[in-house]
């Protein structure tokens, strides 16, 4: 793990040097603000938190995360460079975790750039800062777990468009779990509904979104990150052998 900062810095520099990153982050911010203001009518809700914005995040991440994870292994495009990396004494774990952390930092920056909304809320009324902080935390954890899924897909294939589509597909499936739940509500045995409910990130997210941070939900996201990152490391090790 000694070389983790090296990979982290390289990946962050790689994100900073491509216009693609700026474009995706800007797109995310604009969509978040306009949808919150115009379709969810935050101004008219008269609420003390930013739920109108944050409940959109799981869906907006469906666009941001695949486009960020598309660049995760963009060094792979330079076959010479990628092969050279393999001759260096780097372990797969260092490479995966370093890249993942860099992408997560980009996500956090995108999230923090939502600060004008917080400022506006303070200007217009007296928001509940505790709830807003928990909403930020929930959104950040959700972004991390989605990114780890993107990371895993990247280890499977190198084609950028396939990475984008697969990540989008997988995340859509995860996000769509709640509709599956609704459909099964009265037909399926209760244990199936329960176990799907436990796996559904959206329901976890919305409970944290309401300002209710429990160890349960936090651990759920962390374990999802750990699980997908380990899967990525195992896949990479398998591919190299």
């Amino acid at each position: 793990m000694k070389l983790l900062p090296l990979i982290f810095k390289r990946q962050l520099a790689s994100y900073a040097s491509t216009p693609h990153t700026y474009l995706s982050v800007a797109f995310f911010l604009v969509l978040c603000a306009t949808l919150g203001l115009y379709t969810h009518r935050w101004m008219e809700r008269d609420s003390s938190d930013l739920q109108a914005f944050f409940e959109l995040h799981p869906w907006l991440y469906l666009l941001l995360i695949p486009s960020l994870s598309m660049q995760l292994w963009s060094d792979e495009r330079n076959i010479g460079f990628c092969d050279m990396m393999k001759t260096l004494p780097l372990t797969s774990a260092e490479r995966v975790i370093g890249k993942f952390l860099a992408a997560w930092v980009v996500c956090s920056i995108a999230l923090l750039l939502n600060f004008p909304i917080v400022a506006a809320a303070h200007f217009l009324g007296t928001p509940d800062n505790g709830v807003i902080a928990s909403q930020f935390l929930a959104s950040w954890l959700l972004a991390g777990s989605y990114l780890s899924v993107g990371c895993f897909i990247c280890a499977l294939t190198h084609q950028r468009i396939i990475i984008f589509l697969l990540t989008l597909g997988l995340l859509l499936t995860i996000s769509g779990l709640s509709s599956v739940l609704d459909a099964l509500e009265h037909q399926a045995p209760i244990w199936i509904v329960d176990s799907i409910m436990k796996l559904d990130p959206i329901s976890r997210f919305s409970s944290m979104d309401n300002g209710k941070i429990t160890l349960h939900d936090g651990l759920y996201f962390v374990s999802m990150i750990v699980a997908f990152l380990s899967a990525t490391i195992v896949t990479l090790n398998y591919k190299n052998s």
């Binding site: 000694k2 330079n78 010479g80 092969d83 050279m84 001759t87």
Partner: protein, 308 residues
């Protein structure tokens, strides 16, 4: 230094390297000769620890590439065939990246990067993006990153491809100075460029080791060993050449009329006899040289012996 034993590698169901064994000592410069697709690059990949063998072992300075993967990789420097390409990084940032990955920090890192940049004459292009450089410079960057940490084992993959004569001389001087510090394995299809660099040759064909001898011995196997190639303006009298003692045969060059190669019987030196014949007859010779033996022919012959 390098011990390879019973190395076998399958890619899919195709065997690329089969039962390959050899040892290389410290400060030895080994040439890995083989035709296109013989498995040279795969073998280097296996030695460098980039790829894992299907069976068999590679150990570098006593460290197995399978069990001590990172430590073994730290003892190896590997110049890849295509050189390094990257769409944004400059030469300096690549060297810095590699130096950090090799565990150097701060002033020590700058010193190492400066040292290799001077050694490979990369100073003028240090700030250029690597993608705009020529193939030769890219390859020099690749060699620079390989020797940055003064490894015990240096692997070079086609380092002389596309070099002109002057560059080859420089490269030869570089490798000779490096050979005093580390063991070197050079894989190449340009055998004649290796003949003055390497002391030992491994010939690989179809993933098998078909010859392991000194380069001089390999040249001695050629039927052109000790042959004399001469060109004359009015074509010379071939019969006079053919009856000289020790002459095994005469080959005419169809493309250049007047150019002939006189083959020698094994153990015979025909150069003095031909020389005196030329003075005696007063031929107008435009070029005359003694051949050291054609490695191309030898390797080609060995490779086909195996496949047939």
């Amino acid at each position: 230094m390098i011990e390879v034993s019973n190395l076998t590698k399958y890619l899919g169901k195709k065997s690329v390297i089969s039962d390959f064994s050899f040892c290389a000592q410290r400060h030895e410069c080994v040439g890995l000769l083989g035709e296109h697709g013989a498995g040279k690059t795969t073998l280097l990949n296996l030695i460098s620890g980039m790829a894992r063998p299907t069976s068999g072992h590679v150990s570098i300075q006593g460290l197995s590439t399978q069990t001590h993967s990172t430590l073994a990789r730290q003892a190896v420097g590997y110049q890849l065939q295509g050189g390094i390409t990257h769409h944004t990084l400059s030469v300096k940032s690549i060297l810095n990246f590699v130096a950090t990955a090799r565990g150097f920090r701060g002033a020590e890192k700058r010193r190492h990067v400066d040292r290799v940049a001077t050694r490979l004459e990369l100073q003028p292009v240090l700030n250029c993006p690597i993608d705009v450089l020529s193939l030769d410079l890219k390859r020099r960057v690749a060699i620079a990153q390989a020797i940055l940490h003064s490894p015990g084992v240096l692997l070079l993959d086609e380092p002389t491809e596309g070099l002109n004569t002057e560059q080859q001389l420089k490269f030869r001087a570089l490798v000779q100075s490096l050979a005093e510090e580390m063991s070197i394995i050079i894989a190449s299809r340009h055998y004649d460029a290796l003949s003055e660099i390497c002391t030992r040759a491994l010939v690989i064909a179809g993933g098998r080791l078909v010859a392991d001898s000194s380069l001089a011995d390999l040249q001695r196997c050629s039927r052109h060993f000790q042959a004399v190639t001469l060109a004359a303006d009015p074509p010379v009298d071939l019969l006079a050449l053919a009856v000289l003692p020790g002459v095994a045969g005469i080959e005419e060059d169809r493309q250049n009329p007047g150019k002939v190669t006189v083959l020698a019987m094994p153990g015979h030196a025909i150069f003095p006899a031909i020389n005196s014949l030329i003075t005696h007859r007063g031929w107008n010779i435009t070029s005359l040289h003694l051949e050291p033996g054609r490695l191309n022919d030898v390797v080609h012959h060995l490779s086909h012996e195996v496949s047939s």
